[in-house]
Symmetry: C2
Subunit: 212 residues, 2 copies
């Protein structure tokens, strides 16, 4: 996983995170992703970092403060990265392709954080920071919707329900963490490209080809 420092969303007034804070966040992130937030104790995190629990609390006020920057940072960074990867002058199919491939690349780079964010997002009872997270997600979904709408207007896409098409695309991407194996033969971006190709062209052979 690439350095978490690039995507973290620390508290507004705090400076850059120290090396120790970064280590704690990194280890905690991996543990949260594999065993869930409730399934990981603060002792586990401290042990994994080779420090005592008290020391961990010297760097973070509470357990939530470890989770928060991860979830917020991922939600925001994903959108910003994908947004930046879409060339405005590209045609809709190319934009959709960029959307999916950059999402997959992001997932591959920040795999643990991505998993943490996507699992916590839907189960977090905490209303705190939830609105802000939902804002970023809405912006992200709006970006995808915009691409689809543009495709419809230009005649490139033939879509009955934009919301449904968007959920189909996001479902394919968001489900990837469940089965993706980083040691597998294909990088995530190649998988996303295949997905995009199938989504655009459809699984069904064209009527002409069906006659073969």
């Amino acid at each position: 996983m690439k350095n978490l420092v690039d995507i973290l969303e620390l508290g507004g007034s705090a400076g850059p995170p120290t090396e120790r804070m970064l280590q704690i966040l990194t280890e905690a992130c991996r543990l949260f992703a594999t065993r869930g937030f409730d399934g990981v104790s603060v002792r586990d995190i401290a042990q994994e970092c080779g420090i005592s629990k008290a020391t961990l609390y010297h760097h973070f006020p509470d357990k939530d403060a470890i989770l928060r920057p991860l979830v917020m940072g991922i939600t925001r960074s994903l959108h910003q990265r994908v947004l930046g990867a879409i060339r405005p002058e590209a045609d809709p199919a190319e934009k959709l392709r960029a959307f999916m491939m950059e999402s997959a690349r992001f997932f591959e780079e920040y795999r643990w954080a991505f998993i943490v964010s996507s699992t916590v997002f839907w189960t977090d009872p905490q209303a705190r920071q939830r609105r802000q997270r939902i804002e970023w997600r809405d912006r992200h979904e709006a970006l995808l919707r915009g691409i689809l709408e543009e495709g419809i207007r230009s005649g490139a896409f033939r879509i009955a329900d934009i919301g449904m098409a968007g959920r189909l695309v996001l479902g394919a991407l968001n489900w990837m963490p469940k089965w993706y194996d980083p040691k597998g033969p294909l990088p995530a971006s190649a998988i996303a490209e295949q997905f995009c190709g199938m989504l655009l062209a459809g699984l069904e052979a064209t009527p002409g080809a069906a006659a073969l």
Copy 2:
């Protein structure tokens, strides 16, 4: 949610579950789905049922014994239901449609249990019963793969990678629980039908239509 008794996988020698056991399983299932297995205490379940924790332990030997029949039952029942909904004489597209729609119908009927199963499946550290569950899942994936292969052989489908296509289909279905609203306008089966239509035909307009 329909009666859980139809899908439960109780221990081999045990008789049919009593009314009380069914109540416990039903309430626990809903709680597990909304707050996760670790997020629900045995006290919570007992309280929701209006009984004491000791009474709950009179009916179940431990907390796992409440979760187990839910997860196993869903994994097995889903496959059997979908398998039964596919007419052998139908063409591949129709079979894929039946596969997706019946999956969605099953999800809608046993929504909480479905969510519990799909979340527990991937995070459960317990190796116990895991092999049996994976067997059913593999059979389920093989069923889908068989449909896709048949479509390729008959010329109905044009698919480069069957595994990828299968994951695309399952991703769309398995992601539904995250956003589906049972009070929404569309039943899950209608959504699955739309998904199937988009997957088969593709989002891209045919070259001819693109010229419009």
